[in-house]
Symmetry: D2
Subunit: 138 residues, 4 copies
Amino acid sequence: MNDMHERISLSFNAQGLMATLGAELVSVAEGEVHIALPFSTHVAQQHGFVHAGAVTTIVDNACGYAALSMAPTGCEVVTAEFKVNFVRPAVGERFLAIGKVVNAGKLLTVCTGEVRALTGTEWKVVAIMQATIATVRS
Amino acid sequence: MNDMHERISLSFNAQGLMATLGAELVSVAEGEVHIALPFSTHVAQQHGFVHAGAVTTIVDNACGYAALSMAPTGCEVVTAEFKVNFVRPAVGERFLAIGKVVNAGKLLTVCTGEVRALTGTEWKVVAIMQATIATVRS
Amino acid sequence: MNDMHERISLSFNAQGLMATLGAELVSVAEGEVHIALPFSTHVAQQHGFVHAGAVTTIVDNACGYAALSMAPTGCEVVTAEFKVNFVRPAVGERFLAIGKVVNAGKLLTVCTGEVRALTGTEWKVVAIMQATIATVRS
Amino acid sequence: MNDMHERISLSFNAQGLMATLGAELVSVAEGEVHIALPFSTHVAQQHGFVHAGAVTTIVDNACGYAALSMAPTGCEVVTAEFKVNFVRPAVGERFLAIGKVVNAGKLLTVCTGEVRALTGTEWKVVAIMQATIATVRS
């Protein structure tokens, strides 16, 4: 585990909400982070699908950590804003959020993200995100 | 409690994620819904503030239910997309999400939302949302 | 005309696109700027309504100048991103874009905007915007 | 030129704003449309770069027509909303907007778009968009 992975892993494990939802940090590469969420009724909405808020939370985190993976040493990142489209109901056994850096600027990093749902052996995209993340001195 | 309030209350209570986060349905009026979230480390990020995902979840719900409060009988609502800006760290003892309908169309309802954080007796806006909610036959 | 108004007026008049569209700077106050656009077929889409792009352009400018009106001396502003909802067709004789600062941070200013269409004596909101504007040293 | 190309080409040519800006329909494929804009001071902002509003206008159109290229016969499309990030100044001799369908639903089509700027022989992405387009009976 390199420094970047370790730093992001420590931060992820310090987020109470990740444990509450049951989310797992799957992989960290420069500019791309994957986070998984197994289905559970604890993260569901009224029809038993995964709640848009839980879907958003994991892809927000994936984008934020993707931005952090490219931030200069001594810097932290803060989500300034994001936009998510929900393209189909979040039905599945397991969900994977993928956040990728599109452009890493000095002040702002722009990321795109998506969440895929796994049913059997088939993955389907359920949501896509476009996010703006600010780099700040820590 | 009128029909609309009852319908929204039943739906809210059927969302596993609301119980998981500890969110409470505070008020329902035509076109405006309030949802509260007390601070807890279970909904926190790595610095102990409330996670952007939890902030987003309650204001997404507030906007969705505000849209539902104006939907025709026999219809349901589905969040098509939203955008959130985080204007300051979500620090506070209690958080209040307010969702309001700006325009209720036949197919799409546009809402704005905000989340306020309470510290002592002072409320501060921590996030604002603009959301598009689709009306579908149930 | 005070300094702020003069500065914004000079910048507005230096934008070739404003003259091309026929847009007019209507008013400048601290944190709020109004820009008008008379209807013309030069800014129309295929049905003769005003094009979403023209609607967006004037409210982007109104938000940007609202942010500039609150920026520290020696700073400029750059639109980082925005989101617009089109709530009804942009039909009318005259359009008014209103940009307002919601939160002016050190690095980022968050604004909301709307565009109203005038038909006869009636104004109707046709679009709403939520924008993030970066403050940069000039 | 097939039917789809012809339909989109007719609609494009009926948009007054496209002629006003000097935009050109470059290509139409199922689910992907390209629109170009040569640089001119008529579409510039105060520093002589292309105005964010013009950048947005061409990529909004590219996304809208990409959605239209996959819409059922007898249907039209209307932009419900979009979000754009501006990742670097729109400096260049020529700009290319690319709109692509990510998911074509019955009511709503979600597209992503980008605008690239050409300087010499180098293309750089200056903006990215995520858009929601409604399908309506015409």
